[in-house]
Symmetry: C2
């Protein structure tokens, strides 16, 4: 089973208390695709500029990632630059250059249109909607990520796409903003009325919570001795989560819980080094070992 | 096996977004003793004033709590008043009247001196030290709670008592302050050099983490639909944690993990209503049911 991922490929400039990188490969779809590719074949849809060289393309090579949905157009690739606070719980966007993303209109290659598992990473809700319209089957699971910018500026479009979504992945402050409820149990309940049967609330260093059916599942974050760069942690989580679900092919209580853990595993690797440098060099053995560390971190007998 | 608890009994005035109570029974030792009494017999050492009436004493009656260490002196009982922020993650102290606590010098009744399990709730470190000096056996486990006030104002005394302590229970900002390290893995490692073999870092709505031996264990907080009053949550956690450990009589990986869960269970009940009103009306059946909810909240199969 293949996982379709639609979203941004970008160049990032990032400054954290542990260092500064002026230009590195990033973007939500890149993080999610690389993370998911350890679990399942991936089909990626995005746009890059003519500054996106074979060196950058190397990130996708040697992995089960079908890049025929990456459109290359004249101009420069989307660029984001940000700076993290000393405790890395806050970040400011220093600069955003939409560049080729400004004209992005995702087009699914014909052989992508039968995708049963779909992850719509954080882009304009109307584009997320158009992706779903291009599918020629009813997908088994559609997950979506979004952000405060669209909640504030494109709420009707966001509501329209949410009605067709099964799982919303969102951080805690965005869940509060979208629902108008501070309490996260309340917030998730209200969001589930908007369409998604399941809501995953990401809380950074505090882990993530899944609300689905009668299940509430709490996944901790791995306590790490060194977090160098939080960029892409949420997208890597989404990639691990969706990769694990796609590989299992089944949506049930057990597969959702397992997906939450593999999401947390991939997020925990992502933050250990700048950009994709840790995530791109993993082995399945390391991923399995960290998943077992999560079990050791949470297991108890009454 | 009995658990010795030394700390404050107080009257509190509390305002949260869900209401306001002008005078209710509180104090760290009260919360911890009531929480622990569901698991094991408790011996409490504290001081109250002559305004502490039989009506207030009723909180301890009908429970396995030996109150012969509660000294009654002329004057008024310790009074604390606080107000919580809208999101209840911050609180300001409106007023503190030490009253009879100002002259408190904990004296252990003779039949308390053989206590093998000891919880030193948050009071002046030099008083915590004097409690340990009054034991006539080497205790099996001593746990201690403290706060920013003592880290700032009585650090040498705090270090002196920490050298004799097995488990430090502390919140995240205090752990950072005491250790001078922001990263919690680092912070716990540095604190363990100060004496305690185990450190429990309490993170409120984000749960608690245990660092002990080679074990790192993460207990989530129960996602609750309504949190009315966070006062006493940490003390109730400590009571459940120490009550569970004392009842088991053994200190090992399994009993520490279980204690973390029962601590979380008692903390989750405490915040559901103002003051002790939820905590005092529990049944063992309800406690067992909530512990199983924690298992449901965290269990997964890889």
């Amino acid at each position: 089973m293949s996982l379709l991922i639609v979203g941004t490929v970008a160049f990032d400039a990032v400054e954290t208390p542990h260092g500064k990188v002026d230009r590195m490969l990033g973007g939500a779809a890149t993080y999610a695709a690389v993370a998911a590719s350890y679990f399942t074949p991936v089909r990626i849809v995005s746009v890059v500029g003519d500054d996106f060289s074979p060196r950058e393309h190397a990130i996708f090579r040697g992995r089960p990632i079908d890049v025929s949905g990456i459109e290359r157009v004249n101009g420069r690739t989307f660029f984001w630059s940000g700076r993290y606070s000393q405790d890395m719980n806050d970040r400011v966007t220093v600069e955003t250059q939409l560049n080729v993303l400004a004209g992005f209109d995702p087009k699914l290659p014909d052989h992508f249109r039968d995708s049963r598992f779909v992850f719509l990473a954080n882009i304009q809700p109307s584009l997320q909607f158009r992706v779903l319209q291009q599918l020629n089957i009813k997908p088994k699971l559609v997950a979506l990520d979004t952000m405060n910018y669209w909640i504030e500026g494109a709420l009707p479009e966001l509501h329209a796409v949410l009605r067709r979504v099964d799982v919303l992945l969102i951080n805690d402050s965005e869940a509060r903003q979208l629902s108008g409820r501070y309490n996260l149990v309340d917030a998730a309940a209200r969001i589930r009325v908007m369409g998604p049967q399941a809501v995953v609330i990401k809380r950074g260093e505090h882990g993530a919570i899944l609300f689905a059916g009668k299940t509430t599942f709490s996944a901790p974050a791995m306590p790490l001795k060194l977090v160098r760069d939080p960029t892409g942690a949420g997208d890597s989580f989404a990639g691990g989560f969706m990769g694990s679900l796609t590989a299992s092919g089944r949506i049930n209580d057990a597969s959702l819980r397992r997906a939450m853990i593999y999401g947390s595993v991939m997020g925990s690797f992502a933050v250990e080094h700048f950009g994709l440098s840790r995530l791109r060099r993993l082995t399945k053995k390391q991923i399995g070992a960290r998943a077992r560390q999560f079990r050791h971190l949470t297991h108890f007998e009454l």
